[in-house]
């Protein structure tokens, strides 16, 4: 390239000499040598000494010019290259800086944007600073119950929508959590939970509204995670959801949790809860639960938790239209096997105590609780203090090796038959018993032994299939025997014969 350039320059220089020569022919200030060049060049053959000298001189001049051009090129090229390199370097730096700024701006912008997430834990919408969060969860349970050897009269065989709950939870102004959970399952639409919880810090929280009364261990276990379709007989003696206000918190990094609240006061378990008070007196309920090794390195003890729950209500007026008593104790098949006689009211103090514990280690799980429910009752002039008791022990084993826990099982290999994955499988077993104070039946004043049993004992076994974190299927069988019933085995009388029930469930929870 350079050689070509030089040739061009030389040609141009020579050409210019010719031009100068021809121009000189017309010039008045004649240059003799230049004038003769075209003549010589035209001859093309030899020439005299003067012409040769002239040519030599011209050659020298051309060579000198070429050298000058070379020198100039050599001088200019690095400078030009350097300028180009500097220019390119700046451009690269600018682009790089722009990219840096764009990334910073994008990161800053992302921080200001609301976050939306959808996953196995539900739908979540959060403000950029996480001060406001709204979450939508859901729980749907489609059950079937089949009763055997019941003469076709007790318990309806069939499907039922046990629970159908959209669950709205969230946080406003960072520290205020809320929960609103209606239930469209069963035959009555009711509000299960509706509360606001203020978190000063994890150890100091104040919750107000309608929520589970802090007494029973199994009752406090979240609905999607219970071992069986229905909670045990022990659950008959603890309160369900109640309206009130409670201080609660987790201390020592969650190793100890406490709740102490003031509530309207709820009778022994009633599946249908109210949204107002039915009497003037109020109840205290509280629970203290410890998992001392929760944060320790002692793997064998990390899953051990134990505690005590209880409630106390000073006096219950027997003049109220509401009895203040349970509408009835129910079997695993949700059939009433004990009810108080007509005209019996709660009257005076009522208290409950429930020592409770669970233990989870690897795939093994064990849950146990004991409940005493003491209630003064009155019917007309007769009154007495009744102390009903119940207990349960349930065990579980995850066949596929996942960890069992109070908060369910998460399958390691979610159901995907195409990939040879079958989810998690768990076997469960339980025994529970409930004993009604015999004084209830004295003289058949408070309860009628021809209509109610004075106790029940039930064993259950089951198989739970966790297809994934959201879908679960259960199959279980319960056998319940009733004590103290003296009535006839007439159709429709529940405790007249043992209850044998097969349960199944398909559950969606997120």
């Amino acid at each position: 390239m350079k050689t070509e350039l030089k040739k061009l320059i030389v040609a141009a220089v020579i050409g210019s000499q010719f031009v100068r020569g021809s121009l000189a022919q017309d010039s008045t200030s004649t240059n003799a040598a230049q004038v003769q060049i075209p003549a010589y060049a035209a001859d093309g053959a030899g020439g005299n000494t003067a012409e040769a000298a002239e040519i030599k001189a011209l050659k020298q001049e051309v060579e000198a010019l070429v050298q000058k051009v070379n020198a100039l090129e050599a001088e200019r090229a690095p400078a030009q290259q350097s300028a180009t390199i500097q220019d390119l370097d700046q451009k690269v730096r600018i682009l790089s800086r722009e990219r840096e700024n764009d990334q910073e701006a994008a990161a800053a912008f992302a921080k200001t944007q609301p976050k939306i997430s959808i996953g196995s834990s539900g739908f979540s919408f959060a403000s950029a600073d996480s001060n406001f969060v709204a979450q939508l969860h859901g729980l749907v349970q489609l059950d079937s119950r089949t009763f055997f050897e019941d003469g076709g009269n007790n318990g309806n065989d069939g499907f039922l929508l046990r629970r159908a709950r959209p669950i709205f939870t969230g946080t406003v102004f960072h520290d205020f959590d809320f929960n609103f959970t209606p239930d469209f399952g069963g035959s009555v639409v009711q509000i299960q939970d509706a509360f606001v919880n203020y978190r000063y810090n994890p150890a100091i929280q104040l919750q107000a509204g309608k929520f589970k009364s802090p007494v029973g261990l199994e009752q406090l276990q979240s609905d999607p995670y219970t071992s069986f379709n229905e909670r045990s007989l022990a659950n008959d003696l603890v309160p369900n959801r109640d309206l009130g206000i409670a201080f609660k918190g987790d201390v020592f990094n969650g190793a100890v949790s406490y709740t102490l609240g003031l509530f309207n006061g709820a009778p022994d378990y009633n599946g249908t809860t109210t949204n107002s008070s039915f009497q003037d007196d109020k109840a205290f309920a509280g629970r203290l639960f410890a998992q001392p090794w929760k944060n320790s390195d002692l793997g064998g003890l990390r899953g051990l938790g134990f505690g005590i729950g209880g409630s106390y209500e000073a006096s219950h007026p027997n003049t109220n239209s509401a009895t203040g008593l349970t509408p009835g104790y129910t079997s695993d098949g949700q059939q009433k096997f004990f009810t108080y006689s007509s005209g019996v009211n709660a009257s005076g103090a009522a208290w409950r105590v429930s020592p409770q514990a669970y233990y989870y280690y690897g795939p093994f799980g064990l849950l146990a609780e004991y409940v005493v429910s003491d209630q003064e009752v009155k019917k007309a002039a007769a009154s007495t203090d009744l102390q009903n008791t119940a207990w349960e022990v349930s065990g579980s084993w995850v066949l596929t090796g996942e960890d069992a826990s109070y908060n369910g099982v998460t399958p390691l290999h979610p159901f995907s038959p195409h990939n040879g994955q079958w989810g998690a499988w768990q076997v469960v077993a339980r025994y529970a018993a409930l004993d009604v104070d015999n004084k209830a039946f004295t003289g058949s004043v408070f309860a009628d032994p021809t209509k109610s049993a004075s106790g029940a004992g039930a064993w259950s076994i089951g198989l739970n299939w966790y297809l994934n974190k959201n879908i679960r299927a259960n199959l279980s069988f319960s056998h319940t025997e009733f004590d103290g019933f003296t009535g006839k085995a007439a159709p429709g009388v529940v405790p007249a014969q043992a209850e044998n029930a097969l349960f199944s469930r398909v559950q969606l929870s997120f």
């Binding site: 700046q90 730096r93 600018i94 790089s96 800086r97 722009e98 840096e100 700024n101 910073e104 701006a105 200001t112 600073d129």
Partner: protein, 331 residues
């Protein structure tokens, strides 16, 4: 029971009477990090000696406009120390967190120190940049932040514009042409003054940085006087970065008293000296004389003189569709 209540009451009173631990948040603009790091320590010491209370001041820095917007959006500043009054006005007008006449509450329009815009060039000043005319020459690469988000960049823009107005007999068309040429030389706009310094000093981009005077000195200190030099143009703008308590936030945090004193102390001898040491021009004349060597003499024009105040300058030049939007074309 009475004994228990007495003990609780006595304990509560004793606790109330004890020393308090106070926390303040100062939301400031980009180049004041070093100033307030030093000042906060001095104030905390002063306040503890005076009241026995310990005060911890957190700092937040960014482009002044962005910082104001953050406070409007809920950043709970107890005090704001921003690059220009317009940004604090925006907090007052849009979020109603402080009264409209906030600037009257402290001396010198609540501006305890001033500054100006100078040129930071590479050592030896290879492009021979001496005045604003040199900055708009073809082939000169200028680094400056985005005036939409940076207070310092707005001051720099107005300084250049003011120079053009002074030079071309207040011919607005010529001034607009001048500023157009200037921003044609700007290859990248950072969101804040500190970002622009990084672009120039650390990323080695450009021939000249239009910088806060204190930021230029800091760059020399930080990166070495063997790499850069400061060129003070004959004319620039008097930059007045104001300060204010954010009343509603401070009230909610129960920090009104300490926040007010925090800003008042900027006018004290110690506060002024710290400002001067950090290359902010102090209001106190004695301290200004003491640190005269830190500051070059130049003609300083004000926003009021040249642009009819900040509100007008903002509306004309920096609001959406304003002069800056008209003249700046991203490269």
């Amino acid at each position: 029971m009475k004994i228990i209540l007495s003990i609780i009451l006595a304990t509560s009173l004793a606790a109330a009477a004890g020393a308090k631990e106070i926390k303040l948040l100062n939301v400031s603009y980009d180049p004041t990090r070093e100033l307030y790091t030093e000042y906060n320590a001095a104030f905390a010491k002063y306040w503890q000696a005076k009241t026995g209370d310990s005060v911890t001041i957190s700092q937040s820095h960014g482009g002044s406009g962005k910082q104001a917007q953050a406070v409007i959006n809920g950043l709970e500043a107890d005090v704001v120390t921003l690059a220009l009054a317009y940004d604090i006005d925006a907090i007052s007008q849009q979020a109603k967190l402080l009264p409209a006449d906030w600037q009257k509450r402290l001396p010198n329009n609540s501006t305890p120190y001033t500054s100006t815009i100078v040129f930071l060039v590479r050592k030896g000043n290879p492009k021979k940049i001496k005045d604003w005319d040199d900055v708009v020459k073809k082939g000169v690469t200028v680094v400056v932040a985005n005036p939409k988000t940076s207070g310092g960049a707005r001051w720099a823009y107005l300084a250049a514009y003011a120079y053009a107005l002074e030079t071309y007999g207040h011919d607005d068309a010529k001034a607009k042409d001048f500023i157009t040429k200037l921003y044609k030389n700007v290859p990248v706009l950072d969101s804040g003054a500190r970002g622009a310094t990084v672009t120039f000093a650390q990323r080695d981009i450009g021939d000249v940085l239009l910088a806060w005077e204190n930021e230029a000195h800091l760059a020399l200190k930080e990166f070495g006087a063997d790499k850069f030099e400061i060129v003070t143009p004959p004319l620039s703008i008097l930059a007045e970065p104001p300060v204010s308590v954010v009343d509603k936030n401070a009230k909610r945090h129960h920090t009104t008293e300490v926040a007010t004193e925090y800003l008042k102390y900027l006018y004290s001898d110690e506060g002024q000296e710290i400002a001067a040491k950090n290359f902010y021009r102090p209001r106190n004349e004695d301290i200004a004389k003491k640190y005269a060597d830190n500051f070059s003499q130049l003609k300083l024009v004000t926003v009021d003189q040249e642009f009819g105040g900040w509100a007008n300058a903002q509306k004309t030049h920096f609001a959406d569709g304003g002069v800056f939007d008209q003249i700046f074309q991203p490269q």
